[in-house]
Symmetry: C2
Subunit: 397 residues, 2 copies
């Protein structure tokens, strides 16, 4: 007698979560050191000392009624202005605190944007592979979710975007650095997307919003500057979360930033406020909002993730696995050794390897390896990856 759709979502745990729970059970049985759990994207590096120290300072020194009180629904203006100033300096952007909306993390940033922008039956186009929850959020906002292809480097295929775009397209969504591939989309590719959307906006006489979901923005292992989307396309929104950069995933703090050049930016901002209100987000957690101005530009020790990546890549290369070296995030997208990635993921668990099959990411034949683990886990997984490879070499004979 409950809502049947919500019931089915609640009953079907995500594949990631299922593997994670299975790994947890196996750790209890055979010891943590013998299980190689690459299932979940949970940051393993502690938050910078400055984060905890600033929180303590706020708790000790600030007026408690103000510190823990309601902020405006869009968030504390001091925090929003600090974020705008920081992004303007770092990316030569042109943002205003007035059009930054603080959220309870990246998922909330996305659901609020979708509900604010979509009318029933309009389309959200998204490059595959993509984070599986996108389609859940899109569906709840009554949008039609349409995946768009990527090329062999896992960069957006702009031709396929052009083929898939229709008059009903309201949002194009991308995620870079990408979960699950770790690909960092190049500036040129985003410029091509922007040019195409400009053309299509004129053709269809309405706005098409480009949303960049970028919680992994600070986790990049090359020196190429990150292409900030509001500098490239006017009708763009940035969805951000401090979950990964500050290792605060449970604290739920992020923001939506709107381009100042967006058409009817005041209306878009108002619709975002309206959607936040309708969905029951009163304001983002106040203490964490007030933390932000002191820790902008600070990150956890990202070099540890880079070391993990390099170690994992070297192991996989030595063993003859196929993958595209990831430039960002903490995921590697590994070619499965058989066509059916679910079967491959299942076989891998025989060797205590927990790898997420790619089907739920909208793409077949791969597994996602989340390397935000202890370095020792990667080191010790080498034998397991070898045995897995040998198993398939044997099968093919």
């Amino acid at each position: 007698m409950v809502n049947q759709e919500m019931l089915s979502y609640g009953k079907q745990a995500s594949v990631i979560r299922e593997l994670f729970e299975q790994a947890k059970r196996e750790k209890k049985l055979i010891g943590e050191e013998n299980v190689f759990d690459f299932s979940i994207g949970n940051p393993s590096i502690p938050t910078p000392e400055k984060v905890n120290q600033t929180l303590i300072d706020l708790l000790q020194k600030e007026d408690s009624v103000l510190l823990h009180g309601y902020t405006s629904s869009a968030g504390d203006l001091t925090s929003r202005e600090a974020i705008a100033t920081y992004l303007n300096q770092k990316y030569q952007a042109n943002l205003s605190g007035n059009h930054i909306y603080m959220t309870v993390g990246a998922a909330a940033s996305l659901t609020i944007c979708f509900h604010a922008l979509i009318e029933e039956g309009e389309e959200i186009l998204c490059f595959a592979p993509y984070f599986p929850e996108y389609s859940v959020f899109a569906h709840k906002a009554k949008a039609i979710f349409k995946p768009v292809k990527c090329d062999k480097d896992f960069f957006p295929d702009v031709q396929d975007l052009e083929a898939k775009i229709t008059e009903k397209t309201k949002i194009v969504l991308y995620n870079s650095p990408n979960n699950p591939t770790g690909a960092v989309y190049p500036k040129e590719r985003l410029e091509e997307i922007a040019a195409l959307l400009e053309k299509k906006q004129k053709e269809y006489h309405h706005e098409i919003y480009l949303i960049s979901d970028e919680p992994y923005r600070e986790l990049i292992y090359t020196s190429t500057p990150y292409p900030f989307i509001t500098n490239i396309y006017d009708n763009s929104l940035v969805c951000y979360s401090f979950s990964k950069s500050l290792s605060l995933p449970g604290e739920r703090i992020g923001y939506i930033a709107m381009s100042e050049k967006m058409k009817d930016v005041e209306d878009v901002f108002a619709a975002i406020c309206g959607a936040g209100r309708n969905l029951g987000f009163v304001c983002a957690p106040s203490l964490f909002q007030k933390l932000i101005p002191s820790v902008l530009g600070i990150t956890t020790d990202i070099s540890l993730y880079q070391e993990n990546r390099d170690l994992l890549c070297s192991i996989l290369s030595q063993l003859g696995y196929e993958y595209v070296k990831p430039d960002g995030a903490f995921y590697l997208f590994l070619k499965a050794l058989e066509e059916d990635s679910l079967s491959f993921s299942k076989i891998a668990t025989k060797f205590h390897l927990y790898l997420v099959p790619s089907d739920s990411f909208g793409c077949k034949g791969y597994v996602r390896v989340a390397y935000c683990t202890k370095k020792e886990t990667i080191q010790r997984s080498k034998d397991a990856f070898r045995q897995l490879k040998e198993y398939y070499d044997e099968v093919k004979k």
Copy 2:
């Protein structure tokens, strides 16, 4: 080109928020001490020292990766079990941590319940006067929102409930202690509601869920025990927030507790998990979840609100105003001195009194006086209330 409904919600600030902003502007012009802002329900008493101290201890002593990490979507099991144990002891209830779901505050508790339980076109019945956002949340969940009358004490009119209930009724919602009246619904009245719903469930062959929204549960100024709904009706859910009892409204921490005797409780719990996921609530803020076990049963110094209430009542009685003395929360529902409460609220601002007209609470002819202010504000408001009364006495001549 944005979603038109979300735009209109975003553009129309709530009446409460509008009055609050107007009062803020006037304070700047004529001095804080000359403005009597009774508009907003923002707790004015600091959080107990133990809250800040426990947060500091957690930040200093806990492993930061665990402390700030994702919890399960339903929340940290230790916190959920602590809440169940506390409620079972305090109210002789029979709850389990397995069916408690941690939320980002009371608004989220309600939106998640509505989306989990409602299929499009089903009804949510609610006793008027009620908190205006209820109808916003109900509408977003595609429910039909139907107000039910209260009697002269602002207690539920069970006859009117019986008249309004239909086969489409899925949820009956109440809020006690009540915002805006401060009424605490008596046990007997809730038992009558439960008996009616039992009868109607049999008649219609489906469940009718009774939701108690009770963020003001600890703010009661009588010694009558609070009637805990899961002891009275099986298909019941409690929506709670620590915003008022611990003066943490900006931190967004609360829960949904389900009766263990609920029909298909596992399905209801799963639907709630599904709705939370769909709306973009990944988990409640982790640090504040972990605070909870140490501060259950502790509240801010409620006696200060009681002193405010008594002072306000004595002033209003002396001046000949009509109202029902509130037993809980920090609101008093005052009979307006003309039929049109909007006009009355406007006239009141001439005397620097900010009182919320009752129309948005689903009831005409009253204003809500939020007495969670400094005591001095109430003391000094006496002249303003006198002048307002004299103004109307003059008009009536």
